[in-house]
């Protein structure tokens, strides 16, 4: 029993790392740059298909798929910024919501068109199978995804807080007119943020594809968790999203195991609402 509980905890942590990984791009776009991106889940979905094609065409695993997906998605992100986001950002919030939601539908149904509605899946042992440590089972693919989630979060955090590029991006998010007066080009910074965020979702998608099913609607299934993760973690906090992701993963797994699978969402969202009630800025968000 206690062994199972330990397995639940470890499983929950790894699930949480995946949620954090899934949210990483959104943390930057929504959490830092204040642009809502409803197409986020579908960006990850596209990256999962990239991983699928890399395996299908070249037999490559995530190490081959990650750079390819990151580059393709970064390009997609920059194109999305210049062709759509830049224009809707000038309008009211509703324009952002509807604009990116439209983009989500375009991507989703584009994939329906290209790949059909069928579920796809990468072979189980593409990333070295499962480890058995004293009865605790750890999937190599999830371990890799979890580790990289933490590495990417720290890297993103350092980039934003320790580099001049990061400071420029934050300046634009804070006050784009003032930043412009300081000689920063807001347009360029936003485009870089979109490219960076989409590149991150590319890596996330390539990793998640190694243990999840792939279908045109998979982004829809996972996206809601990403929005919850970012707002629970706190806007403006990259590390907050990681902590929130881990927390949600553990709470979900524990409540699913101890109370019952039907109730786990109730527990997660009750805690989510409770936290926002007392800390509307999120766990690690700035006041």
């Amino acid at each position: 029993m206690s062994m199972s509980l330990l397995q639940v905890l470890i499983g929950g942590l790894m699930l949480g790392a995946v949620y954090a990984l899934f949210s990483s791009g959104l943390t930057l776009i929504w959490g830092m740059m204040n642009v809502v991106n409803f197409a986020h889940g579908d960006f990850v979905m596209i990256a999962m298909y990239v991983a699928f094609m890399v395996w299908k065409l070249f037999g490559g695993g995530p190490f081959m798929a990650m750079p390819i997906a990151a580059m393709l998605l970064a390009t997609l992100g920059i194109i999305a910024y210049f062709s759509l986001v830049r224009h809707v950002m000038k309008g009211p919030m509703l324009a952002q919501i509807l604009g990116t939601f439209g983009l989500a539908l375009l991507l989703r149904y584009g994939m329906f068109w290209t790949f059909g509605a069928n579920f796809q899946s990468l072979p189980e042992n593409l990333v070295g199978g499962t480890y058995d440590l004293w009865g605790i089972r750890i999937q190599a693919s999830r371990l890799l995804a979890g580790t990289l989630a933490i590495v990417l979060t720290i890297a993103l955090h350092l980039m934003l807080t320790r580099t001049s590029l990061g400071s420029k991006m934050l300046a634009v998010a804070e006050d784009s007119t003032a930043a412009q007066l300081m000689g920063i080009r807001p347009d360029r910074m936003q485009a870089i943020a979109w490219g960076l965020a989409a590149g991150l979702t590319g890596i996330a998608g390539a990793l998640i594809a190694t243990f999840f099913y792939i279908s045109p609607t998979v982004g829809e299934t996972l996206a809601i968790i990403a929005f919850v993760t970012v707002s629970l973690g706190g806007f403006g906090s990259i590390t907050g999203a990681l902590v929130a992701g881990l927390l949600i993963g553990v709470i979900e797994s524990l409540s699913g195991y101890l109370i019952g699978a039907v109730y786990k969402d109730i527990v997660v969202y009750t805690i989510f609402i409770a936290v926002l009630w007392f800390r509307p800025q999120g766990l690690m968000g700035k006041n």
Binding site: Q7, N118, S215, A261
Partner: protein, 419 residues
């Protein structure tokens, strides 16, 4: 690709329907019979919906063109519907988007705007529930080829029919199978049910529980869960703790795939694993996780049969279209469609009341069917009393028939092997 909007031939058709309805046949040729089909063409069950759509399209080809090679299959021989002067069938597909509300709205649209003569659908029992209520209100015949939830035919509806075996038939098959296993010395002391918590999963779980009690079998664990979940580790660990002798999964495709993947990752396999149709019957399930679900048992009424047989030819037509073999769910959709069109042909009219009378008088024999039912004949509630199913098992890359023995094509392999 996935969303076909039917052609609008409404006005000429409505006139013809009126004339035929008054019994003035002859000079006016009925040119099209319009049937609405509400299926999940987007959302998480879209792969099943796309398969059903392709299967219905094959049936349309069979009906509208002459296919003498298909033997006694309903309406295959001649082109069009003989009793309606060779009228062609046209299907208007609508997307239920995997939600009961969309299923209801789309059915309303099909009936009021597309003016369909009958409606078919809607895969998920929970959506069939709402969609059929609209058809009932408007007095349009509604046939569900695949929804099994018990209460669908307990509502006293006049216009609702279904050709599929229903929850109680299914529970009976599982119980008979498990009782036989027990008699042969296999340990079946504790059964676990893992079900998604919409109409379909809840209903099947309830009926299985009742059937188990009646048959003296013990349900030791029930795990309901929300469909389209992101993670099933906690459920699999609960199963691992209890270690039941048999698990019955009632899941749609996305969850079924996750369960198989997670069970492999956590190194858990039960001695007997039954996956109740839907997710486990999806061709995409077999393709993506079939190799780690070896020995999984499922129910089915479909078999492609020997090369050159009617069913084999239909399977080839379907395969040419989709690249996949026909599966049980899509097969049931096809059979439901044939049944509805056969009734319209016998009615010799698109008048709803005449179709209703013809549906009630349906009496199809096994040689007229493409599914392995003992026939199609409806009771007063609209259930097909001749529906039946057998058990199939994943062996290698395909399902093979394993039980009951007289219809088995391969020996049953026990215990569940997994990967």
């Amino acid at each position: 690709m996935f969303k076909t909007i039917g052609l609008m031939k409404g006005t000429a058709l409505a006139g013809a329907a009126l004339v035929l309805g008054l019994g003035l046949t002859g000079a006016f040729a009925q040119n099209t019979v319009k049937i609405g089909a509400v299926y999940p063409l987007s959302g998480n069950a879209a792969s099943a919906g796309a398969s059903a759509k392709a299967a219905i399209e094959v049936a349309v080809d069979v009906i509208n063109n002459a296919h003498p090679e298909l033997g006694d299959l309903t309406l295959a021989k001649d082109a069009g519907l003989p009793n309606l002067n060779g009228a062609k069938v046209e299907v208007v597909f609508a997307d239920n988007q995997g939600t009961p509300a969309a299923g209801q709205n789309q059915t309303l649209r099909l009936i009021t705007e597309e003016k369909v003569h009958a409606v078919l659908g809607s895969y998920q029992s929970g959506i069939t529930l709402t969609a059929s209520a609209i058809a009932e209100k408007y007095g349009i015949p509604f046939l569900s080829p695949e929804s099994v939830a018990a209460n669908l035919t307990e509502r006293g509806f006049k216009w609702f029919f279904r050709t599929t075996p229903i929850a109680s038939d299914i529970a009976k098959i599982y119980m008979e199978f498990l009782k036989e296993m027990k008699a042969n010395g296999t340990k079946v002391d504790q059964i676990a049910i893992v079900n998604e918590n919409t109409e379909y999963g809840t209903s099947i779980a309830k009926v299985i529980r009742e059937a188990a009690q009646a048959n003296g079998l013990n349900i030791g664990l029930e795990i309901p869960y929300s469909a389209n979940t992101t993670d099933v580790q906690s459920q699999v660990l609960q199963l691992k703790d209890k270690n039941p002798d048999c698990i019955i999964f009632v899941s749609y495709t996305s969850d079924a795939i996750l369960y198989m993947k997670t069970m492999q990752a956590l190194g858990y396999k039960p001695p007997i694993l039954i996956g109740d149709n839907s997710g486990f019957s999806d061709a995409a399930f077999l393709k993506s996780v079939g190799s780690i679900a070896q020995g999984a048992i499922n129910r089915s009424a479909w078999s492609a049969g020997k090369p050159g047989s009617v069913t084999d030819r239909l399977n080839e037509m379907y395969k040419k279209k989709t690249g996949y073999d026909l599966d049980d769910s899509a097969g049931r959709a096809m059979q439901g469609f044939f049944t509805m069109v056969d009734a319209i042909n016998r009615a010799g009219s698109t008048d709803p009341n005449k179709i209703l009378t013809a549906l009630k008088a349906t009496d199809l024999k096994p040689n007229q069917l493409m599914m392995g039912y003992r026939g199609v004949k409806f009771d007063e509630k609209g259930n097909n009393i001749l529906a039946s199913a057998l058990l199939i098992q994943i062996q290698g890359s395909d399902y093979v028939a394993v039980w009951p023995k007289d219809s088995a094509t391969a020996p049953l392999q026990m215990p569940y092997k997994g990967w």
